[in-house]
Structures are given as C-alpha cells and as structure tokens.
Symmetry: C2
Subunit: 442 residues, 2 copies
C-alpha cells in the first residue's frame, strides 16, 4: 500500500464490526482482524474497526484481544446504531437467532458459522436480511475452510446440480479412519479422539450425525433451490459401527465413511424430481475420491449436468480454517455494503418435495448370524427374492455356533430392504442380523 | 415457478445477451441459455434474451441454434445499445480485446473464458470495467468447470494465500498419464491424444506450456493481489519428457506432471515477499493429492495461512464444463446488474515483485551418461559440492558404454543447479546430461 492509498483509507469512516462469541473461532477472527488490518482494508477499500466482542466470561485471559472490547451485554452490542457488520459465532438456536435477526433489522450485514440455526430456520434469517437489504453469509457453516457455499450459490448457479455427497464432519471421519487403520472399537476410538481434542466431551452432535445432518440440509437447499431443514434429513450416526463392519468393508475393498448424501430423485410421472437427503455411515470403494479423505479432513463431491464431477477438499474444522471462511465472507459483505448492494439471498423457487428414506435406492451390506444347517442359504435367498431384493454376493463364514452369512445386494429401495431385514429377524435359522450398512459410490 | 412469479418475470424487460464465438463452448452456452431459460430467470430474477451470436461462418449447420440470431458483424453486435451482457468466447488477443473493451465502454457486463488475453493484458480490461462500473468475470478461463477464480477472489480473500499449485492443462495431463501407464514415448502419445480429440492439430499452446502459463499468471495475480502477466511466468513444456524420465520417476515412487506453481518467496531483508511463478514438468510423489489427478482432469491445490491446504478437482476443459462456468458467471453478473452493483475488480495493491527463476529453490532429478571408469562418482560428487548443491541419492546403472548415474539433489536454487549442469556437460567423464527434472510436492 502506498502513502496516498493509506491516507485515503484512513480518511474514510471505517466499517464497524461486532463479534458475538469468542471461543476458538472468535478468538482467531478477532486476532486476524487486528493483525491483518492493512491487507483487509486494501481488499475491502475501507478500514475495519472492531467495536465490541461479546463474551460470557469477560474475566478469562484472552491474549492478543484488547480487554476494552469485551462485553457481556450482547443485546446492546447488536442494537448499536454504528454497527455495520456482525459476526455471529455463538452457535445453537437461541439466543443466536434473535441476535442475528435484531442485527439484520438494525441494518447490519451478518456473517455466521451457525449450521444448526441455518438448517433449522434459515428461511426466517434470509427473510430478515432480504427485508433489510443487507447480507447474510455463512461459508464457515459447512466444511470449515473449504469454499463450498459460494461455489453452490454462485459458481454452479447456471448449472443443474444432481447430487452433493460429502464427508462434512471431521470428528466422525477421524474416528472411522482410526477404526480402519487400528482395528479398534468405536468406544475406545471415541475416547482417543476426545483425549486428542478431535471430539468434544459431549460428542452427541458429531457421532449421532446431527452436525452432518444440519450441513446436509444447508447443502441441499442451495444445490436444489428448495427449502430443506434438519428435520427433513434422514439421519443415522456412527455409534453402531463395529470393528466387524470395518473389517467387512475392507474385505470388499471398501472403507466406512459417514456420508451426507443430497440428491435429486429420478423424475416421477409428472416429470418432477424430489430431493433426497440423508446422513449415515456407508461403505464406499477405496478407489472412490472420497475414500482417501482421511483424519479430520472434509470433502464435498458435487455432480452436475454440465460441469460433471467436482470435488472440494480441505480442513473441515478448527479455529484457523473456520476463521479463514469467516474473514472471506466479512470482506465480501463489506465490499457489498460499500457498493450499496447485497449478495444472493435465499433461492427456493424450485420448491421441490423431500423424498422419504424408504424410496432411496442403493445397495446394502448385511451380516447375519445363522444356524449351521443344510439349506439355510436357500431359505434366506428365497426370502430376499420374496421382497424383491436381488443378491449380488453371499459369503458363508465359520461353522456351527459361529456360522455367518455376509450378503451384498444389488440396488433396492430402503423400504424393501427394511422389510427384508424385519423378515430375516423372524426367520428361525437367523440368530441375529448383526449389521446392515449401505454401500455407496458406484 | 408458480404462475404469479412467471408473470412477474415476463412483465419485466429481459436482460439482453450477446454471445461472441460459437465453437464448442459457445454452442453449449447458447443451447443452455435457451433450454434452461425458466430456471435461469428464477435464479437471476429476470429473463435472459439472446439477441445475437457472432460467428465467422454463418453457413455451418448449428443444430438447436436459431439461425436468425447468427451474425458475422461482431463489431455492431457489441455496440448495440440494448446489450446488457456480452459473453466473449472467441479467444486470442485480437479482436477479442477490442471487442471486450468496446462492450464494457458501452456499459455491458462481460463474461469471458479468454485466459490468453487476461494473462497478457488483464489490467486494461479491468480498468475498462471499473471505469464503466460494470462486471468482468472469467471463472471459465482457468481449470474449466472447477470453481477456482471465485474461491481466490472471494472465499479466501480474508486469508493469506502462500501457494497455488495446479494441474491446469488437460491435454498435457492426458499425455503424461498415458506415457506413465503405457510406457510410450511423447511423440506417439501426442498422436494418440490428437486422434482422440484430447490434443489439437496444432498442439503448441498446450504441450509447450503456454496455456498453463496464462492460467498461472491469472492465478498468481488473484492469489497475491499483484499484477502478473504471461511474460512473468517461467515456462517449460513437456516435449522433452522421455519415457526414461517417466520410468525414473516411477522408480522413485513419483509421477511426472506438468505443474503450474505460484508461490510467495521467503521474506527478503526488508520483509518483502515476491511472487514466483513457473510452469514445467516435475516429479511429484504418488502419495501427493495432485498425483492421482488423471487423464483430462484438472486440480488446483491451494495453501494459505489460516485455511491450510485446500484442493479443487474437476473436468478442466470441454464444451459442457466450460459452459457451466460461463453460465455461473452470467447469472452472477446479471444479478449484480439488477442490483446496480459490480462484483470485485482488479486487486493489485500488494504490488509484489516477480522473482526470477534462478532464485527458485527446489529439488532436482538428473540422469547422466558417464564413462565407466574408477572415480567417476567421486569427481561428479565433488563438482556438485563445488556448486553448493547437496546430493540426496545417487544410483549407478549399467556398465561400459551404458553407464549412467541417476542423481536426486536436496533443495538448491535453480541458478546453482543450472551452473552445476553446465559444468557437468564440460566434464570429460560425462558423455551427456540426458535429463534434468524438478522434484516437487514434499
């Protein structure tokens, strides 16, 4: 920056920024806004000025953050007349929703990383932003630093996206990856992940798939120009995944991943295509691009009519990567504000229906403990045939009390498969259905 | 779309679109604008109307394109008062540059895929767009359908990008991939690529690295907020890559790729970091994310201070993928136009210097034909030491007339390595330096 430019920037009134929440991400955001002020100013065309950081515990030591900025009075902060840009990093539904709406109503543009809120009630937030003519940006809400919101909202907006499949939760990917490489159980791997800081003390949101489901709802809404909320997402976590499932996957040349799968269904009789959204563990071939995404990394695989297959990979969480996404949005909404314009708002014109899980068509891997008697395979094969589920491969393992069948089906509806499993459980030669897992990515 | 929305859209004056050039990409763009009119209208908030398609040969059959739209009078088309959006797909420097500038001066927003022009003279185009207060977008200019321009310009604009390394030319990637899998020579693989339509009749721009160099210039300018033109890019093509190089790479657990490498140098004494930009074939480990990018695919690997390592993968060329990128830009600039605002313009405030190739520090793989005499290794090792280039591994192969040394160095400057190679060529025990290739990605 030369002197004249610096003078011009200093002469103009700065854009005033309030940060709500100062955990890992908030701390990093505040530090970057402070340390990188000159660069951000040149990229925006105006200086940024931090006017407040809302925290719950102001007495905590926060190195690098000016203590004079800290406040516990978040309500007053978002109502200040001189706030231009609000960064919401509190998370959860309330008070985050009320604070964001208040900020938007007061004319501030908002940047948020709040996936749970966007997935539950994005429409209300969009409406408030639209009404006030300001921006609501949320690149950090899905897949951390990976640019995926902007590509869906803008780069691919002229295309017809047919599916988005992603590994969007780093904690579960770390756990499944460890289980695969070490042969360990879910419970012991979770403990290890917690000790290493990859899983929280209360890991429910991650391991039960709630976090991934929220991201799937956001991705589906953007990809298919329809309203999809968390409640629309079929969800299974990874707590039931066993070392045996992982070993079975390995024998098939597959790996187990927690996938978020968002897809358009085949056209119905009226030519309409619905949205199918689900989060569950699945086996995918080791040759699939998503199979190599290891540890805490995230990846999103997008298929569209014209562009074909695209993949986006990067760190899915963490203070610094998430702060990068927040700052990218901050610069963009600041630029928009200086131009007196807002970026894209909600696009839900397609109003597609959400298809129930029973109609999903995919392949399945099943493990059954069976009686070691003559004719057991014939009876089980007949039962699959009765329910219209075609078997691709069967493997018999063990003898006597350890007799097992490992079955992989051809493509079938989830409803047909569920009915098959119910019937299998009632069959006298089946001791137990020990595992049912979807097989994706082919 | 419901009836009311459709009526509202039909009532407003459409945005008028002119397409310049109607080859593979142009044909696809015109078809999509026509076929997907309703969706595009809902996504933009206004209908698009094609008002002209400039072609050189109007008599060619163009199925699916209204013949009444075709014109050879491209100058009049871009000067029409009623043109809102111009899509330039002619390519090359002139007349494309004059046409784009005329369109911008007449107040139209421009979408282009013209990497050569942007890399040679982007600044002139940006200035014309800025002066007219309209948009110049060019997602399709680099890596086809892969969203990379928008991520660099917007998603990562709050971060500090330290390097961008990519496979950005599908033709050369296809050829190197085939040479690797089939053990074939460059010349025969080029012929095969031409027969399959992956290489043009005149393949110079691809195989000599000009196409990749233009893309590297564009990526560097955006990533480092500085002006970098094609002339600033060090460039070597793949015509000298031999089957022997590929086999040597394989023995090292590497694969040969044509890489575009854009990086910030280490800070100098004044703390300034320059831009280093180069395109050349290089060996990278098979475990590197870029190593698995095969055939005509492209990939761009970005490292930044906060976000860490991101990778973007997808189809790098072809009519449909490129059209997807063009349409994404078209929708974005149309939205901007309706809001009376323009998107980001040139950002070159950092004014970083371009570092010469001699200062690049990397590793090298060398093959030498040598005399089979006692002490040859000692003399050659001493010569490397004299030039300050440290040897990591040496392999002696063959005897007598076929005696060879294969040497991999530690990191050294390009200048030191070049001086070493010059001296090796003068050494009496060296018959020939048969290959010198950089080793990257570690």
């Amino acid at each position: 920056m030369n002197t004249t430019e610096a003078e011009q920037l200093s002469a103009a009134a700065p854009l005033r920024v309030a940060v709500l929440g100062c955990g890992n991400v908030g701390t990093e955001v505040v530090k970057l806004i402070t340390e990188r002020g000159d660069d951000l100013a040149m990229r925006i065309g105006r200086r940024l000025e931090l006017i407040g950081v809302a925290v719950r515990r102001p007495s905590l030591p926060r190195p690098g953050i000016d203590a004079a900025l800290l406040t516990t009075d978040v309500d007053s902060l978002v109502r200040r007349d001189d706030v231009d840009l609000v960064i919401e990093l509190i998370g959860g539904i309330e008070p985050a929703r009320s604070l964001i709406i208040t900020a938007l109503e007061h004319g501030a543009s908002v940047v948020t990383a709040n996936k749970a809120l966007l997935a539950e009630d994005g429409t209300t937030l969009y409406a408030a932003a639209e009404k006030a003519g300001v921006d609501l940006y949320f690149e950090a809400a899905v897949a951390g630093a990976i640019p995926i919101i902007r590509p869906l909202r803008e780069s691919l907006v002229g295309d017809e996206i047919t599916s988005v499949m992603g590994i969007v939760n780093g904690t579960t990917n770390f756990i499944l990856d460890k289980m695969d490489s070490e042969g360990s159980s879910f419970a012991e791997t979770l403990e290890e992940a917690q000790a290493l800081g990859y899983a929280e003390a209360d890991p429910t949101a991650d391991i039960e798939g709630f976090d991934a489901a929220a991201k799937a709802a956001i991705l589906s809404s953007l990809a298919f120009h329809s309203r999809v909320s968390s409640a629309d997402v079929y969800r299974e976590g990874i707590t039931e995944v066993t070392a045996g499932d992982i070993a079975s996957a390995r024998e098939m040349g597959c790996v187990v991943k927690l996938l978020a799968i968002c897809a358009l269904t085949d056209p119905d009789d009226a030519g309409e295509r619905a949205v199918s959204v689900r989060v569950h563990p699945a086996m995918i071939p080791r040759s699939h691009p998503l199979a190599t995404v290891g540890g805490p990394y995230n990846a999103v695989f997008v298929e569209s009519r014209s562009a074909g297959r695209l993949m986006f990979t990067g760190p899915g969480a963490g203070g610094q990567p998430t702060a990068s996404a927040v700052l990218g949005d901050l610069v963009t909404v600041a630029r928009n504000r200086l131009r007196g314009a807002a970026g894209p708002g909600e696009s839900s014109y397609a109003q597609r229906a959400v298809s129930p899980i029973g109609e999903v068509v995919t392949r399945y891997h099943l493990s059954l403990d069976v009686a070691d008697v003559v004719g057991v395979l014939a009876r089980i094969a007949q039962l699959f045939a009765d329910y219209g589920v075609s078997i691709q491969t069967v493997r018999q393992q063990g003898r006597e009390a350890d007799a097992k069948l490992v079955i992989v089906t051809h493509r079938a509806t989830d409803a047909a498969l569920s009915a098959t499993v119910d019937a299998l459980q009632k069959l006298d030669v089946v001791t137990q259905v020990t595992s049912v897992m979807r097989v994706e990515g082919e």
